[in-house]
Symmetry: C2
C-alpha cells in the first residue's frame, strides 16, 4: 500500500440556491478533490471544502499545503502508517480540512486494499443514521416551507436552524413559526455561527425557552471569553462547540474550561482518526456529539455518514447530512439517498465513494485530463 501519487484537484460545482448563514455565504462549491494512489493502483479519495470564514483555508492554500507540505510525507509511505503521516502533518498548524482529507483518503486505501468497508473497520455500529437538515437564513415562512418540504419529501424530523441575525426577533420568530407549523415532535436546535454576542444569545435562550430546543451551537464567538462562560453556565440546553473546537486540544480546552457542553464532529476537518479521538473525549467527559456538515458534497457527506454510524455515541443524535441536496451536481458516481428521515451506510470497500471521471473532467479547474 505504498503511496506514489498525490493529486489535489481544484473543482467548482454551482449551488442550486446560495446558502446564507451568520459566518458566511456560499453560491458555488469550490472544493479540492484529494486522490492518493498506491503503487499497486489502489486510489484513496477524499473531498476538501475550503472555508476561509471558518478555518482560514482557501482552494489555493489547500493545494499548496497538500502538494508542498504533506505530499513529501505521503510519497513512499505505506497507507497503513497513518500515525507517521499524522506526526508529519502535525508540524503544520491549521489547514484542518486538508489534513482531514489526507486521513480519510488513507483509510479509504486501507479499506479498499482489504476489501472491507471503512464503516466496519471503524466499528460498524449502525447501518444508517437519522438525518438532520439545516435551514438557512430566509423569512420565517420560507424557512417553515423548506422544513415542511423536507419532512414531506425525505421524512426528516430534525432541523438545525441557522440563526445569528439582528434584530434577534427575526430568528426568535422563525423558531416559533417552525415549532408551531411542524408540531411538538420535531427536533429543533440552533446554530448562530458566532453571529451574536453572549448577551444577545442569552436573550434568545430566554425568548425561546418554551419552544423545546435541544442545542445551541456557537451562540457567540468563543473569543468572547467571559461572556461565553457566563452563557454556558446559565444555558438550560447544551452549548455546542463547532468552529471553536476544530482540534483535540481546542475541544479539550473548551469543554474543560466552561466554553462548551457539547461537541460538533466534522470528518471534513478531523478525518476519521482525529474524529475518533474527539468522540472518545466527548464520551469520556460525558457530553453529547452531533455529526456536523462542512457544507459537504456527497463525497464528503459519505465520510460523515460512514464515521457517524460506526459508533454508538456518534449515532445517537441525527447527523447533518443533507447539505449536498443544494448542489447542482456532484463528483460521486452513486448518488446518496435520504428516505424516511434516514441515510443508509454504503456497503462497499473503503469509504464507499466512486468518482465519476467524466464529471471530474468537466468540473475540474486545473485544465488537466483525468
Amino acid at each position: 500500500m505504498i503511496i506514489d501519487r498525490v493529486e489535489a484537484i481544484p473543482y467548482r460545482i454551482p449551488m442550486r440556491k446560495p446558502l446564507h448563514f451568520a459566518s458566511g455565504d456560499l453560491a458555488e462549491m469550490e472544493h479540492v478533490l484529494l486522490r492518493l494512489t498506491t503503487s499497486d493502483g489502489v486510489v484513496g479519495v477524499a473531498d476538501v471544502p475550503p472555508r476561509p470564514y471558518t478555518y482560514g483555508e482557501t482552494q489555493a492554500s489547500v493545494i499548496d499545503a497538500i502538494q508542498n507540505l504533506f505530499a513529501p510525507a505521503l510519497i513512499g509511505t505505506d497507507a497503513r502508517d497513518r500515525s507517521a503521516v499524522h506526526a508529519a502533518m502535525h508540524r503544520t498548524v491549521g489547514n484542518v480540512t486538508a489534513k482531514g482529507a489526507v486521513d480519510i483518503a488513507l483509510w479509504d486505501i486501507v479499506g479498499k486494499s482489504l476489501g472491507v468497508s471503512v464503516h466496519r473497520l471503524l466499528g460498524g455500529y449502525a447501518d444508517s443514521l437519522r438525518v438532520s437538515h439545516m435551514v438557512g437564513f430566509a423569512s420565517a415562512s420560507e424557512m417553515v416551507a423548506e422544513a415542511l418540504a423536507y419532512r414531506e419529501r425525505y421524512g426528516v424530523e430534525v432541523f438545525k436552524v441557522k440563526v445569528g441575525r439582528r434584530p434577534i426577533t427575526l430568528d426568535v420568530e422563525a423558531c416559533r413559526a417552525l415549532r408551531e407549523e411542524l408540531g411538538p415532535d420535531v427536533e429543533l436546535y440552533l446554530d448562530a455561527n458566532r453571529g451574536w454576542t453572549a448577551v444577545e444569545a442569552m436573550q434568545v435562550l430566554d425568548a425561546t425557552r418554551d419552544l423545546g430546543l435541544t442545542f445551541f451551537e456557537e451562540p457567540c464567538d468563543a473569543a468572547e471569553v467571559i461572556g461565553r462562560r457566563r452563557l454556558v453556565a446559565h444555558s438550560h440546553i447544551p452549548v455546542v462547540a463547532d468552529e471553536s473546537a476544530p482540534t483535540l486540544g481546542d475541544a479539550a480546552r473548551e469543554l474543560t474550561t466552561g466554553g462548551a457542553t457539547a461537541l460538533s464532529i466534522k470528518t471534513a476537518r478531523t478525518g476519521f482518526t482525529l474524529s475518533q479521538k474527539l468522540l472518545a473525549l466527548a464520551e469520556g467527559l460525558g457530553v453529547e456529539v452531533i455529526m456536523g456538515n462542512q457544507i459537504d458534497s456527497q463525497v464528503g457527506s459519505t465520510a460523515t455518514l460512514v464515521f457517524g454510524a460506526a459508533f454508538a455515541h456518534s449515532s445517537r443524535r441525527a447527523a447533518e447530512l443533507s447539505n449536498f441536496l443544494d448542489m447542482t451536481d456532484d463528483l460521486a458516481a452513486e448518488p446518496l439517498h435520504i428516505a424516511d428521515g434516514r441515510m443508509a451506510v454504503p456497503d462497499r470497500p473503503g469509504v464507499g465513494v466512486d468518482i465519476d471521471e467524466q464529471k471530474l473532467a468537466s468540473y475540474r479547474l486545473d485544465g488537466k485530463l483525468s
Copy 2:
C-alpha cells in the same frame, strides 16, 4: 488616502546560517512584501513571514488571502478607516500574518500622509529598546560562543535560549554553560516552542531553578490542556503564551483559564492595532509582555521596534529584534543597527522603512518588474 493598488510580492532571501528550533527549521526567508498604494501615490509597506509550523500559512496562502479575500475590502477604502478593514478581514479566520501586514501598511500610509512617525502616533514612549538575542539549537559550547560574540559585538545582555530537545539534559546543560560563561547579570529565558510535554517542562524548571531564568515560553503544547495548567500553576517563573495566543480571544482565554502568565506580542501577526489590544489586555490583567520575533526581516523588525518602543508596558523587557542578522540581505534600504545592546527607533514618517527597489527586483519570485 484612498487605496487603489494592493500588491502581494513573494520574495526569497537566503539565511546566513539555517535556524533550528523545536517547531521548525529555516534556511531561506520566503516572505511576501505587501504594498498598498493610495490614489495620491503614498505607499504603505509591510513584510509577511509565512510560518506553516506556527500559523499554517504559506507564501501561496498569504498571496491568495491578500489578493482575493482582503483586497476587495481595501481597494477604494480610506487608509484611515482601519476598523472597517479589520471588520472585513475578521470574516476570514486565521491568516494572521497576512492580516497583521495589512494593518501595518495602513498605519504606514497614515503616518506618511501626515508626515509623522507611526512610533509617535502610537504613543512615542521611548526612543530605543533593549535587544534580546535568540540563541538557536547547537552544542552548548557553540551556543555560549554565539552569546559571547553578540555581547562583544552588539552589547546584548539578554538572551532567549531555544530549548525543547531530548534528552532534556542537552538543554539544561546548555543553560548552565550559558549562565556560567556569561555571568550572573545577563538575563536568560527559555523558549521550547512546544517541544516538550508538561512533565518534561516541569523537570526542566526543577533542574534549572538555580540559574535565575526569567521566563519559560511555550514549554509544552497548549493543547496539552491539563498538563499545561498544572505546569503554569507550579512554575516559579512566568509561562509565556506565544503561538498559543495569536489573537485577542486566544490570549484572553489562555491568561484567564490558567494556560499562561505572560504574553509574547508579535507585530508580524497582530500588526499595530491588535497588538495594542493585546498589550492593554496584558497590562489590565497584570502580566508582562515580551515583544517577540517571527524571524523577521529588517522590514518586519522595524515594525516590532516602532510598536514596542511606543508604550511603557511593551518597552520594559528587552525586545527580540536581532533575527535579521542571520539573513544574507534585506529589502530595507537603510540597515538597522544594534549598539550597546539597544536599537534606536527610526525617526522618519510612517513606520520608517524604505524599500530598496533594486533588491526587491532581484529577490522577488513573481518575475515582475517593480
